[in-house]
Symmetry: C3
Subunit: 339 residues, 3 copies
């Protein structure tokens, strides 16, 4: 993969060396995300941040990454105001919007919509989530977080033991992360979920086909004992046929500090694609974990910024220009970046 | 018309020499819209992009045009969040918002609202569409497209044969375009519409009063035979009293490649103000025309950017500074501009 | 108060010398707000303009202030698209969003929400309004306006006679302004409201405890006779249990030009936190006052920009760098700033 001028639609596009390259660039972005340095390398460039499905976090993260490279953002935040709601095709929408920007990030609830859009777009398109299908930048930031966390423990991703917990059936973040992890060597997946919410068989088959191990179970405590990484997820309630159907699973699998202390290794890293559900009945990750230094969930979201910066810099072929165009930040800032 | 510091509220403001001047400036904007060059001439200037009626395309096009000149955009995307919904007058809204920006683009569903707003504004106001009344930048980009298309065929706008097709009663784009075309010489209008959706009599009277020809008919194929330009429109369904009323007209007038091949001149240019309705029952412009090089609908939207850049540059009197403040684009870009 | 790196959550944070300092910086911002000069001191900095409750005016004012300092704005405009609506805690939202920006402005309908958010944020947070609780930048711009208006009459804030009129029970702007005014000497408050909508007793107690005078009354004309400032408010209809409850008070207290002429001192300044309700039944400030030079309501909103610029500049410790990084505006502008 060359990155320059390419669409980012699926984690399937990435080889291991692509990922190594991306992560190398991402690390160079840390001083900018951490507000130590400023670059204006994309000054004058425009991002079309087209979110036809509501989102605050992912939308702002992409926009922020672009701004940190010096570019401007034009955006939309819902489908109802758009021509798509008047019967316009993705083809037309793409042809039109790609006249307005240098890169487009698109989110739409319909599976495959972003690929269809990208075919007609005259500028590179990044998939910001197309329904239950793909959300590649989330999987890349998750993998990058795993790598950084392991690195700080002087471990590698190869040989990783990861426990994936919760609604493994609907979570696209989990699906994509599994795919990416199979590019490494000798990964041990522990898949912990209610019986009906297990990881779809095709992902398990792919894991095993590439020589990794996968154990399925319903019990949390036995599954997390040897994990390097715990990857907890919320129930994807919006994917169920009714709220009642979803409620049956709320709160079934919960991690808190006492369970962690009793059953986990002392350095086990806790991840979550966020948002975590903090309502009393849910609490898949208890707030008493907030002071646990192994809770990496906010390092994940911080890492989202550098991953997205790296994607943009590679697509637009400016990664090599950033260093030369950078200067120190001149305003008050505390080095708060967790990533 | 001097442009500097003026409001752009109606196509009636423009003389033919104003339009010539505007289009000359618009052509100078092409290298910027086409991402060959960057200018920062409006660095530090703020556009108030006030869309009190939903819109993605027009809103983003204006914002993009401003960004391409180097300025910042603050915007709003609906009326429900605004003080207008708490009983505030346009006078107050205008007095307040004009303290926040250097130019305001305003869209509001109420006819005449933008003019009322502009009277109280302390900065120049551009009408981004006030209900069924006016949307001058759309008409200007349509006329500019006609000029550019004719130019590439070594023809002039004078003597043009244009077929206007569809809901000619409600389409403000059509109304404003007719007005602008009457500024030229010897235009032949063929007006093709269902009987109840004909061009209002006042526009026909104006066309004839200025010495142009206008034929009304209901049949598509006989009307398009000698046209230089086919300007197709969608049924403005939102202007009908009910969806049932609107549905009576859906799909009555359709153009596709086989009709085009059989009945049109080989160079006939196809335009549409977009969005076109791609749902099965509608399809006023079939997707099999997408590969037809005379389909100019995306050149139209691209031209919207340069027209809006030119309007801003003239209103703020910076057109002459752009050349000096420009530099080459430093990121990956393919020359994709269709306009 | 040091300002640098601090949250701005409540007017209670400010001493009189803090306010003097803030207002000194605010005055230096006038040439920028008035588009005489441009500064890029915050070029590369990002504001997270997080409005989880609809707002156009305050949101755009904050965004504009940030842009005028050279920074970029990422924003959200409603709660329904946010993770908060999926059960996410303010703690999580704050930890995540504070990885995306250098300062966050937050509005949320829930009282105390912004403080809770600020505790978890890794960057300074400015309260943009938390329900009926606080909206400190509004109170600061009101006080700044009073100071500027008195200054132009060669008077001081000390010794001020102010008539507060309307729904004094629910208006957070009034509550916060009263608090700030108590920092000065010898203020005379005339509190004019319907019986049930009087200023809550705790504010009256505070006024008196600090040695100021407070008279309560229901009649408008007798209360405004000696006022330096009339501060009129609209009925906060959204705080009533039903529209019927609110309607009982609509239009009870109205000021128009003939009342002004008959009962006020010739230089009495008229203020209002806006929006004013221009519907026939309400009209707490009649439009026939629009030509009255003492109507300061649009100078208030203009002052909002310089106050917010000053807050940002102080929080980020760049106030001293602005002068050196400034240049003249190069585009057409009329000196329209009223503040």
């Amino acid at each position: 993969m060359n990155f320059v001028g390419e669409n980012i639609l699926s984690v399937s596009q990435f080889s291991r060396s692509d990922i190594d390259h991306l992560f190398l660039v991402a690390e160079k972005m840390i001083p900018f995300a951490n507000r130590e340095k400023v670059t204006r390398v994309l000054e004058g460039a425009i991002l079309g941040n087209m979110f036809f499905e509501p989102s605050t976090r992912t939308r702002v993260s992409f926009g922020c990454a672009w701004n940190l490279l010096g570019g401007e953002v034009r955006e939309t935040t819902e489908i109802k105001a758009s021509s798509l709601s008047k019967g316009e095709s993705f083809y037309d929408t793409a042809r039109v919007l790609s006249g307005y920007s240098d890169v487009i990030v698109m989110r739409h609830e319909q599976e495959g919509s972003v690929s269809e859009f990208a075919e007609a777009s005259r500028v590179p398109v990044v998939n910001g989530g197309d329904g239950a299908n793909e959300h590649p930048s989330q999987a890349l930031l998750d993998l990058y977080t795993i790598r950084q966390e392991m690195k700080s423990q002087r471990k590698q991703v190869d040989g990783l033991r990861i426990a994936l917990i919760g609604d493994l059936r609907h979570g696209r973040a989990v699906h994509s992360l599994c795919k990416l992890l199979t590019l490494y060597e000798n990964i041990h997946f522990t898949l912990i979920s209610p019986r009906d919410l297990g990881l779809p068989q095709k992902y398990i088959a792919e894991i095993k086909a590439r020589g990794h191990a996968a154990d399925e179970m319903e019990d949390l405590t036995s599954g997390i004992a040897n994990a390097d990484i715990i990857y907890m997820t919320r129930t994807q309630e919006e994917r169920f046929s009714s709220q009642e159907q979803a409620n049956r699973y709320r709160g079934l699998l919960r991690l808190n500090q006492s369970i962690y202390t009793e059953f986990c290794q002392p350095n086990t890293v806790i991840m979550h694609p966020l948002p975590r559900d903090s309502r009393g009945e849910a609490q898949e990750l208890d707030e008493d974990l907030n002071e646990n230094p192994n809770l990496a969930i906010f390092r994940q979201t911080d890492n989202g910024v550098v991953i997205r910066m790296a994607l943009f810099a590679l697509i637009l072929n400016v990664a090599d220009q950033i260093e030369a165009s950078s200067r120190d930040v001149n305003w008050y800032t505390q080095g708060r970046f967790d990533g």
